[in-house]
Symmetry: C2
Subunit: 188 residues, 2 copies
């Protein structure tokens, strides 16, 4: 079970949303539920993902928190951990993949530390190990979000950028960040 889902049902959800049965989303499901179990039943929580790989999709499949509604925040530190916290008080729980516990799970250990090239790994055995034992690879502890992270940041006043003529939040400065810092593309 992953939360209220059977393993099979969760796998279906992952395929539909993420596009493939990524081990990181399967293990991420166990992370989310390990943290949620430690929260009070009626807690209205936000989520912080400490990696942008896979974890955000486990959160978006299992909780009401999404990248676009800002109940999910992503900090791309490359660390396999999620924090679920009361959105009003900031009291919460962090769940992380505890590498000290991985020795008992050779397929997951091999995958996580990239000890073998992907094509030499047994993907089915890896997924089965994670689905059956993912919860045993995780540790949790209580945390308190810092007030500056908890503060609700509104968009504020919107103005038209003198550079490109598009609208942007003036809190970013005299021009929109795309004109001020450069774009990721060239106009053709």
């Amino acid at each position: 079970m992953i939360g209220t889902y059977t393993n099979e049902h969760y796998l279906e959800k992952v395929l539909a949303f993420h596009g493939h049965a990524a081990p990181g989303v399967l293990l991420g499901g166990h992370l989310v539920e390990a943290a949620r179990k430690k929260l009070p039943k009626d807690c209205i929580f936000d989520v912080l993902c400490e990696s942008s790989q896979c974890l955000p999709d486990a959160v978006q499949i299992l909780t009401p928190c999404t990248a676009g509604n800002n109940w999910l925040k992503i900090r791309d530190a490359g660390v396999f951990a999620v924090v679920l916290y009361d959105k009003y008080t900031g009291a919460g729980v962090r769940a992380w993949l505890d590498t000290a516990k991985l020795a008992a799970f050779p397929k997951t250990h091999e995958w996580f530390f990239k000890l073998k090239p992907k094509k030499e790994q047994d993907g089915d055995a890896l997924r089965a190990e994670i689905l059956a034992h993912g919860a045993e690879m995780i540790s949790t502890r209580a945390i308190q979000m810092k007030p500056e992270f908890l503060a609700r940041k509104g968009k504020g006043t919107v103005a038209v950028c003198p550079g490109c003529g598009e609208a942007y939040p003036v809190k970013f400065g005299d021009m929109c960040p795309l004109c001020a810092e450069g774009r990721n593309y060239d106009v053709v």
Copy 2:
């Protein structure tokens, strides 16, 4: 219609995923489809959102691109625009809310520039205006992604952080970013 969805069906999808019928996700749906229409039919595309508000959810509802599978990239510039581009060649289309076209749509103009407090706005009329006319508020143009943005960035070698004992990608430095730069919470 928003892509292959009727307005009603899209609205249902937005409620289920985003949690409420946010005008930004409704307008975002028109943005995504305006860009997609200009791509070749068989194009395998990635998406760049130029705002982290609402737009990522329109993308995640309408395309296979998600925050966790990294086919969706989010740059929080606060600009209401999306870029869909061929993931191999980087040739693509940017769609943006064209404020020069907003004068004809008073409810959307008022909402977008926050000309009235939210509670004085007529939410139903706003949503109806966006669903019916969103496509008329948008401009598009061809772009070419810069090569450095197109390059696939793997996680690389994973090591155990000497600070916290958790695993992180060594490309980030001698310690994980959480130990090096600080965390968003205190342990309690």
